[in-house]
């Protein structure tokens, strides 16, 4: 191993994610993925994709594990992870609304979509609402320019949309208005989760 943090040090540090499959079922999935790429350092990006799929986001503990397993300096792992915008360092909301901000969508009013959703649900662009219900993200271009403006609600494409229609679609999957006003509404509209798929 080329870094000072050798295998001995790894055991002594409490903040590594468990690598033994019996500790955490997700660790088994990660291990499988690491085996698949034969622990090759150049597969770092694929491994990080896998970590995000498995854990939902990249935590420092898992990044440490990845560095150890691929025998990469931790600074290089963090450097790569933070370079690419698709990697997230905090858990995403239960639902994700991703507004495409490609040129075609820009020309057709993507800004208004973001503003509309942001106002209706009280969530800032690029962030997750405090109650963890909704993340509002931007995408560079999802390649559906013919249908501009478009947004992704979880995995479903909402095409040729308007702020009103998009807000309605988000409500339909079970996200209510402002997070603060949610307590009262929760009792009536909490059952419709994951309806978008």
């Amino acid at each position: 191993m080329s870094v000072a943090a050798g295998p001995g040090a790894a055991g002594a540090t409490p903040d590594r994610a468990p690598v033994r499959p019996d500790d955490d079922p997700r660790a088994a999935l990660l291990e499988k993925q690491l085996k698949k790429v034969r622990y090759r350092a150049d597969a770092l990006i694929e491994v990080l994709h896998a970590v995000q799929d498995i854990y939902g986001f990249l935590s420092p503990e898992v990044l440490h594990t990845v560095a150890d397993e691929l025998e990469l300096p931790p600074s290089r792992v963090l450097g790569v992870a933070t370079f690419y915008h698709l990697f997230s360092f905090e858990p995403r909301g239960e639902h994700t609304c991703t507004v495409c901000t490609g040129t075609a969508c820009f020309v057709k009013g993507a800004d208004a979509l973001i503003e509309g959703v942001s106002e209706a649900f009280g969530v800032a662009k690029g962030e997750t609402r405090e109650d963890g219900k909704l993340s509002l993200l931007e995408a560079r271009c999802i390649g559906s320019c013919g249908l501009a403006p478009v947004a992704l609600l979880d995995a479903a494409v909402v095409a040729k949309t308007t702020p009103e229609a998009l807000v309605a679609a988000i409500r339909k999957v079970g996200v209510n208005g402002e997070a603060v006003a949610d307590d009262a509404a929760d009792a009536t509209a909490g059952s419709d989760e994951g309806g978008a798929a």
């Binding site: 080329s2 870094v3 000072a4 943090a5 040090a9 540090t13 420092p60 990044l63 440490h64 560095a67 300096p73 931790p74 600074s75 290089r76 792992v77 963090l78 450097g79 992870a81 933070t82 370079f83």
Partner: protein, 241 residues
């Protein structure tokens, strides 16, 4: 090995193949401004302050990363280059919080000297959020990201000379910043050997020795280049033995 001859600002220069234009220029007393270049570590050509005009090429090239060639005609100090260097330095100042008056490196700062040379006489400071927190967790050294110019000399010295790979660059664009290991405080970086090479190569006061005050920077920037050239020389001698 047959040498090459070229012209740098109307000086005839003899150089060896593989040398950079910057190295050849120094020998005839032409000092091309630069921040990221440093003898003893690899060349990245990132600060773009050493851009020079080479006759026959469409755009200026970094002197640090351009190898000499026979009959090359180089100009290092044209009006356009001077103007561009000034703008580049202004942008560098605008990225950070380079308050010379309260800096360890005051009087021994490459950025400060360059600004004076190039004629930057005013500036604005607007550091991005990632550059705000000073890291004083290391027992011997401190790091002030608002004074970092992202030359990555420390990253290269740490990786290429010390072999610790403690320092890396994280984030991108304007949010690019140095990190130790996984972005933990420097003092907790397991890989750091506390060798201080990063501090020695820092062109500004971003990395400093604790206990030094304004204008008291002591470490020699030549440390790393001395180490590497000595290593090369002496290991050649070992082979002969």
């Amino acid at each position: 090995m047959p040498g090459v001859s070229l012209r740098i600002d109307d000086n005839e220069v003899d150089a060896s193949p593989g040398e950079s234009v910057m190295q050849a220029a120094v020998r005839v007393g032409v000092k091309v401004p630069g921040l990221c270049q440093m003898d003893g570590v690899s060349v990245v050509g990132a600060c773009r302050l050493c851009m020079v005009e080479v006759a026959g090429t469409p755009r200026p090239r970094p002197a640090c990363a351009t190898p000499v060639a026979e009959a090359m005609d180089v100009h290092t100090d044209t009006e356009q280059l001077r103007e561009h260097r000034k703008v580049l330095l202004e942008m560098l100042f605008a990225e950070g919080q380079h308050v010379c008056a309260v800096c360890v490196a005051n009087g021994a700062c490459e950025l400060q000297t360059l600004a004076a040379q190039v004629g930057v006489d005013h500036a604005n400071f607007t550091p991005p959020p990632s550059r705000l927190t000073m890291d004083l967790s290391h027992p011997r050294f401190g790091y002030d990201p608002s004074r970092c110019v992202l030359c990555t000399r420390c990253v290269r010295a740490c990786a290429e000379v010390e072999g610790a790979f403690t320092w890396g660059v994280a984030g991108r664009g304007r949010e690019a910043h140095l990190v130790a290991d996984l972005g933990r405080p420097w003092g907790e970086a397991e890989s750091c050997t506390s060798c201080g090479k990063c501090v020695s190569v820092c062109p500004t006061g971003a990395m400093f020795e604790k206990g030094t005050s304004v204008g008291q920077r002591r470490v020699k920037r030549a440390l790393v280049s001395t180490l590497t050239s000595r290593r090369e020389r002496e290991s050649a001698r070992e082979v002969l033995k």
